[in-house]
């Protein structure tokens, strides 16, 4: 297709490859390359690539993507291991970085460059040259009017038309008996800005992504994060990321608060979170003074070299485990005695909207044998019709309403094998469950903090000493995103110009009995006929006025 035309110009039949050329040896390498280049830069190819791109994006919304939902991919592999392997071979879990998706958009951008660059040259030439000559047969133009006029009007019509069109910001050329005018060069300028800015967006996305990093860190109230690779729970760097670029800031989670709607009159609404607030103290360097700030969901902490976002939260009961049995005090109160095989806050992952939370504790140092614990925390415990425990409200509605249960599993935890294991899950296969579930032994239940309870089989004592919250924080750095935004806004501006600025040519020509007005638009122009009428009226009526004045 003729790539020098504006996109809104209905193009001529595509330049078909020479029908004999396909199997003609004379075509040669250069000929082939030229043919491929023409094919690639044609509007039809761009259109088909666009539609292909739309279709190719669909599977990414159907199958879980490693970039957006890695856990979804893992569970897909667990549920359909055979199918998952096939899908993975087709890169359907990495659609947007797959070979086939990438090749479509790369081809599209090559096509775009091949189309836009020649057009920019043509447009630059058009800007520098004068409007095209008046057509011989004006009546063939899509908007046309013939006006009968007196001799006096006819005499002045060319000069007055030129002045009128100049006032309307047309570019005007007078050629004997006619005026040729053109306006709306911004339409094509906007079109070029739009397409070139899309290239800018792509480049900025690429470079920004290469130098970016994104890391996650879970902080329990009171914990401090220091910005180095060891400080992250998970970290995904871009291709050009350099560890030395991490600035040594630190951040302490002072407290984390949640506001729930606690109006019980809102049947549908009680217990929905209204606000999450993480109060943090940051230091830009180990010696700098600490600054306290608030991070909320839509209000990340903006540091000079990174942004910190609040992405999740939950409860972190502080537990202590000892190999010695609990000590009984007067009045049936039990307390734990050291030394402790484990002591500290354990982040429990919320399982539902009411924060029924699951925690895992692994005690490789317990004596005589190591064991693991699967524990549930119910901020306000209630019972399901099945008898199972659940949480009925996301916070404790009274000091006695919370409940912590523990199921103990004895056996080798597999921590000494050297294979990294997930701290949030306990592989119970191969372990012997000692309490809860089908064991017949009731799970250990700890109401409210301060309680202690004996473990089964005289394994020792566990105590629930305090309740804290944790916050999941995302620490992100992307130097490209400002550029992405700039180019995106530029492309929007270009789009508005290219779709809304009318580009039209207007001609006025003196003829025997009066004058003719005609106009031609590039693309759709709802005002074309009106413009011709207005110009015709203006050129004939103004003279009448003047007559009266005379």
């Amino acid at each position: 297709m003729d790539s020098s035309r504006p996109s809104d110009h209905v193009s001529n039949a595509p330049t078909e490859p020479n029908s004999s050329g396909v199997n003609s040896p004379e075509l040669g390498l250069v000929g082939w390359l030229r043919w491929i280049w023409r094919l690639l830069t044609s509007m039809r190819t761009a259109l088909i690539l666009l539609l292909l791109l739309a279709a190719a994006a669909i599977p990414g919304s159907v199958y879980p993507q490693r970039s957006a939902d890695p856990n979804g991919v893992t569970s897909y592999f667990q549920q359909n291991p055979e199918l998952a392997k096939v899908l993975d071979g087709l890169q359907l879990f990495d659609v947007y970085s797959s070979v086939w998706f990438s090749s479509i958009y790369i081809l599209l951008f090559v096509s775009l460059i091949g189309c836009v660059v020649p057009r920019a040259i043509v447009h630059a030439k058009a800007m520098a040259s004068t409007p095209p000559a008046t057509p011989k047969v004006m009546a063939r133009m899509p908007a046309y009017q013939l006006v009968d006029a007196k001799k006096s009007v006819r005499a002045a019509v060319v000069e007055r038309a030129a002045n009128l069109l100049k006032r309307e910001r047309y570019r005007v050329v007078v050629d004997g008996d006619s005026v040729s005018a053109e306006r709306g060069y911004l339409r094509e300028t906007g079109n070029l800005i739009f397409h070139l800015s899309l290239i800018g967006v792509l480049v900025a996305v690429g470079f920004g992504g290469a130098y970016s990093y994104s890391g996650q860190r879970l902080l329990v109230e009171g914990d401090t994060f220091v910005n180095n690779l060891a400080g992250y729970d998970s970290f995904s760097p871009g291709a050009f990321f350099n560890e030395n670029n991490l600035t040594p800031f630190s951040m302490k989670l002072d407290k984390f608060e949640i506001a729930f709607d606690n109006n019980v009159n809102h049947k549908a609404n009680a217990g929905t979170p209204i606000d999450f607030r993480a109060t943090v103290s940051t230091k830009s360097s180990p010696t700098a003074p600490a600054q306290t700030t608030l991070i909320r969901v839509n209000e990340p902490l903006e540091l000079p070299t990174a942004k910190v976002y609040l992405t999740g939260n939950g409860y972190a009961p502080v537990l202590a485990f000892s190999d010695k049995p609990c000590k009984n005090l007067n009045g049936g109160v039990r307390v734990i005695e050291g030394p402790f095989s484990y002591q500290g806050a354990v982040p429990y992952l919320p399982q539902d909207a009411n924060y029924t939370s699951l925690g895992v504790i692994k005690l490789p140092d317990a004596k005589p044998n190591q064991y693991g614990v699967l524990s549930f925390f119910y901020p306000t415990a209630g019972k399901l019709p099945t008898g199972a425990l659940t949480s009925v409200y996301p916070a404790a509605i009274s000091p006695q309403s919370s409940l912590l249960t523990l199921n103990v599993y004895a056996g080798d935890l597999g921590l000494d094998s050297g294979i990294p294991s997930n701290v949030f899950s306990l592989a119970t296969h191969g372990l012997k469950q000692l309490s809860g579930g089908k064991t017949g032994v009731k799970p250990i239940q700890l109401l409210v903090k301060g309680n202690a309870e004996n473990l089964p089989n005289n394994m020792g004592c566990v105590a629930f000493t305090d309740l804290k919250r944790f916050a999941s924080l995302d620490i992100d750095y992307n130097p490209g995103q400002g550029w992405v935004l700039l180019f995106a806004l530029l492309s929007l501006a270009g789009l508005v110009l290219s779709l809304l600025v009318p580009r039209r040519r207007v001609w006025v020509k003196r003829v025997d009995d009066g004058f003719e007005v005609a106009a031609l638009a590039r693309g759709d122009d709802p005002a074309l006929n009106r413009i011709v009428q207005e110009i015709a009226q203006e050129l004939s009526s103004k003279k009448k006025k003047k007559d009266k004045d005379d």
Partner: protein, 312 residues
């Protein structure tokens, strides 16, 4: 930020008022039903072979238009009351998005009615569509007023979603024009000898000619496309603040992108020989189907971050 005192634990929700809002929506639906039937009646009369019957048709159309105006007034009050009941903008879940979105579609139509003559005949598509959406919204999507989840507490909710709704409204009207265009151009409709098609032909005769319908669709689609581009950019800016990245191929982002690409294809098709006309009209219809798909199936059944239906 949406105004929300930081220490207050409850939001002023008014469930009684939201009931009143629902009654207004129901009443508007009743009026839309009558208006829709009146428009159908108008089409059947105006397409009659008898001159005397045709004469009375314009009076029916005027009556239907007045009904439509009243319906939209009740509809608008229902939307506003819902916002007051929730003390925030009324588009934070699918029910609210549906009632606000359809109201804006009608509003865009009513405003355009005065400027674009060709659009008047599309009322039957419009009232039927609005009625259908409201029917689904009040039965399937309905949820009680809820306070805003923290991720939605942002002024971007006002900017991003309003523009998305507006874009949808323009695309919606354009798709009606494209459907009429395709029906007019369909060989089956134009040549079949079955009696039903004869009536369809006469009804389609009332619509503007194909060139006008094509231009109408194009003009509404370019406005829709500009607004959709803005929606996409505004969404990315908001995602950067709320979800720590400006673009992450979340299912909703994917579909916003797909829709943008389809309409970009539509614009290119309009300038490509062999693709303008029927094929580009099909693209416009497919684009609008993708919007409906994005709003219903993707919202309800696809896993992603935009889980705002409020349904369980």
């Amino acid at each position: 930020m949406i105004s929300m005192p930081r220490t207050q634990l409850t939001v002023a929700l008014n469930e009684d008022l939201s009931q009143v809002s629902l009654y207004f929506i129901y009443f508007a639906m009743a009026l839309y039903t009558v208006a829709f039937l009146a428009y159908v009646w108008h089409l059947s009369q105006a397409s009659s072979t008898l001159k005397a019957v045709r004469k009375g048709a314009s009076r029916i159309e005027r009556g239907a238009f007045i009904l439509l105006v009243f319906a939209s007034a009740f509809h608008g009050i229902g939307v506003i009351l819902r916002g007051v009941a929730a003390s925030r903008v009324p588009w934070a879940n699918m029910y609210e998005f549906s009632i606000t979105g359809t109201f804006l579609v009608v509003a865009i139509y009513l405003v355009s009615w005065f400027f674009v003559r060709d659009i008047r005949i599309l009322a039957v598509f419009l009232s039927g569509f609005v009625l259908l959406v409201l029917g689904i919204a009040t039965t399937v999507f309905y949820v009680e007023v809820k306070s805003l989840m923290p991720a939605l507490q942002s002024y971007w909710l006002v900017i991003h979603v309003t523009v998305a709704i507006l874009a949808t409204g323009f695309f919606n009207i354009a798709s009606a024009a494209s459907i009429a265009y395709l029906m007019k151009g369909s060989n089956l409709v134009q040549t079949s000898k079955l009696r039903g098609f004869a009536l369809t032909r006469r009804i389609l005769g009332l619509f503007p000619d194909m060139t006008k319908l094509e231009k109408l669709a194009y003009r509404f689609n370019i406005i829709g496309f500009i607004l959709w581009t803005f929606t996409l950019i505004a969404g990315a800016i908001w995602a950067e603040r709320a979800w720590h990245r400006y673009w992450g191929w979340d299912t909703k982002e994917v579909w916003t992108f797909i829709i943008w690409t389809i309409y970009a294809g539509y614009l290119h098709a309009n300038a490509t020989r062999g693709w303008s006309g029927k094929r580009s009209a099909w693209l416009a219809v497919i684009g609008f189907c993708a919007i409906i798909f994005n709003f219903t199936i993707v919202n309800l059944f696809f896993k992603g971050l935009h889980v705002y239906s409020g349904l369980k």
